[in-house]
């Protein structure tokens, strides 16, 4: 009788605990999501509604004019194209160079320790912003994408990640391939690489997000308008409000337009690619951090 009572009480407690727990989690998740919902609503709202400040979560007087203005701004489009080029080439470059370096580093080579030390030391100490700038400037790389690509060729964290993956590969696999007459390099291309797709995808995605979101380096090295990337353009646009010409809008459309709305539209366009892909890539990322933390 008594046990039944405690069980009942426990169950009641259990339900309350769950409810409380889930409500806190929902609040936390909402706080994370809300800023994005707000800016999305703003980007589709009319200038009048925005200036009243009353837009909260649903667009008011829904309109596309903000996107129309921002997408007809040639400087914005240029930076969008630049970011796509920077990202696509950068991902291929960084990923392949990292994998190529990680493979020999996963083997017991003579002099391998020296290379590892050389790589790891760069995590502890770096030249700093100004000496790096002077060097890139000496090489005449400023205002070219190479100023971003070359210094980010190999990321130490990614290198260690791929090396750890290669090291866990069964040795028998390579022995078998060697007996079958594979040369070392063929083995790398035909056996090791296809089996390493999970880790290669992981670091490629790291590179993808990294290049698309890159800001500091672009701000320093890509200053002229024809090479400016999206984050730098967006930052300037948020600060100075130069969202683009409104000449393309008809008088009726002008009523709906606002600078704030166009800024919101620019933010949405910049964030959209990452927001769309991240639900699919987050598991690779989470795995990446875990392997990385074990080192």
């Amino acid at each position: 009788m008594q046990t039944e009572l405690t069980l009942k009480r426990n169950k009641k407690k259990f339900v309350w605990f769950n409810l409380f727990n889930n409500i806190i989690l929902i609040i936390m998740a909402f706080l994370c999501l809300y800023p994005f919902l707000y800016i999305l609503a703003l980007s589709f709202s009319s200038g009048i509604a925005i200036s009243r400040g009353s837009v909260s979560i649903i667009p008011i007087d829904a309109t596309f004019v903000n996107f129309k203005v921002i997408l007809s701004n040639p400087m914005f489009i240029r930076s969008l194209v630049n970011s796509v080029i920077l990202t696509v080439v950068g991902v291929v470059w960084t990923t392949s160079m990292t994998v190529i370096m990680a493979y020999p580093m996963s083997k017991q080579l003579k002099g391998g320790k020296v290379v590892s030390t050389m790589v790891l030391l760069t995590m502890l100490f770096s030249a700093g912003m100004i000496p790096n700038y002077i060097w890139i400037n000496t090489l005449k790389l400023t205002n070219t994408f190479f100023a971003i690509w070359l210094p980010s060729t190999v990321n130490v964290f990614n290198l260690l990640l791929v090396r750890a993956f290669f090291r866990e590969m069964p040795k028998e696999l390579e022995d078998a391939a060697r007996i079958d007459g594979c040369t070392g390099f063929q083995m790398f291309l035909k056996i090791v690489l296809p089996l390493s797709m999970p880790v290669i995808i992981t670091i490629a995605l790291f590179a993808l997000v990294g290049y698309w979101n890159e800001f500091g380096g672009s701000l320093i090295y890509l200053r002229s308008a024809d090479v400016m990337t999206l984050p730098v353009r967006l930052n300037a646009l948020i600060n100075d409000g130069m969202v683009g010409g409104v000449g393309i809008l008809s008088p009726e459309e002008m009523v709906f337009f606002s600078k704030e709305g166009a800024k919101a539209a620019a933010i949405i366009i910049s964030a959209l690619p990452m927001v769309l892909i991240y639900p699919f890539v987050q598991k690779y990322f989470a795995k990446g951090i875990m392997i990385g933390s074990i080192k």
Binding site: I26, M97, L109, I130
Partner: protein, 322 residues
């Protein structure tokens, strides 16, 4: 055809010898694969370090390292008397400490709560949502924050006005700016930071929970006496890592959120270096030498702190961090 057959044959027959030779040949291509990476590290990580000599020069871009006048330790003596530098150093540490105290508990708390969720779908949905801010850069996030807090059009001030308050210019008020900085940092980062704690919690032996349950431990008790101790090592490592980072701060985050009205609290070392050399306040003759000295001073300080935190970590029986 014939030749290759012979080759194969000899390999099979004379295994020890072939192995001896084969290893050398295989190693050659491995060394070749190393070369591009080594060139990269030398060219873009070590060669720029040579540029540190300009911290001891009155460096002029037109003259280069060879002809710029040497000034010995003058630049470092100047650092000691530079009020802007010390203000930037103070701000760097204050912002880091604030983020540390307010930001550290949130991902741990979140991971603990998440672990108590029964439904896998609900759990997955919550996780996906809280990771979202991690995937946009600070330009986007700071842009959103600035627009939400705008005194004229922002939603936050709309709510304040609705309740009869006066609008607050959060981004232009030094006191509020710090609050906003820390809030944005926590909100953008806690979900992602929770991954490592959550993984530590999940790896706890489930049988221990069963045993505790049978022994009549309540949920709160299990959380307090089982889950929390199990992630203590992870928390320790994270705490120690933070010590090493106290004088370094992300440039993007501070730069995108700050403005000229709040420089007294928002100027940190990295933004100070950028502003005075390559940024808007560079002037006609940017003082590269002095600012390189500032950068070097910061890097050395950071290095010492990392080495100290590594020592501490090893002393208390954890794995070192380097």
């Amino acid at each position: 055809m014939d030749k290759s057959m012979k080759k194969k044959k000899s390999k099979v027959i004379d295994l020890p010898l072939a192995k001896k030779r084969g290893i050398k040949r295989t190693e050659l291509y491995l060394y070749l694969m190393l070369i591009p990476g080594i060139i990269f590290f030398i060219l873009f990580r070590y060669v720029p370090m040579y540029g540190i000599v300009m911290a001891f020069q009155d460096f002029q871009i037109g003259l280069g390292f060879a002809d710029s006048p040497w000034v010995g330790l003058d630049n470092f003596a100047r650092i000691m008397q530079d009020p802007y530098f010390w203000n930037a150093m103070k701000n760097t540490m204050i912002l880091n400490l604030l983020v540390f105290f307010f930001g550290m508990p949130v991902p741990i708390l979140f991971a603990l709560l998440l672990n108590e969720v029964a439904g896998p779908k609900f759990k997955k949905a919550i996780q996906t949502i809280v990771y979202l801010p991690h995937f946009v850069n600070w330009v986007v996030y700071a842009g959103i924050v600035i627009m939400m807090l705008s005194p004229s059009t922002g939603i936050v001030n709309f709510i304040i006005k609705t309740f009869g308050g006066d609008p607050v210019a959060f981004m232009e008020n030094s006191k509020w700016w710090r609050v906003v900085y820390v809030g944005a940092d926590v909100l953008k980062g806690f979900g992602w930071a929770s991954i490592i704690y959550y993984a530590a919690i999940v790896s706890v032996d489930q049988e221990m929970y069963e045993a505790a349950k049978i022994d009549g431990a309540s949920r709160a008790q299990r959380m307090r006496y089982l889950t929390l101790p199990s992630i203590a090592p992870t928390i320790n490592i994270m705490l120690i890592l933070q010590i090493g980072k106290i004088v370094t701060i992300g440039f993007d985050q501070v730069w995108t959120m700050s403005n000229n009205m709040v420089l007294d609290v928002s100027e940190v070392i990295s933004t100070y270096i950028y502003r005075r050399t390559l940024g808007p306040q560079a002037g006609l003759f940017p003082q590269f030498g002095y600012m390189a000295a500032v950068g070097l001073f910061q890097s050395l300080l950071a290095l010492v702190l990392v080495l100290i935190s590594d020592r501490i970590s090893k002393k208390i029986g954890q794995k070192g961090i380097i």
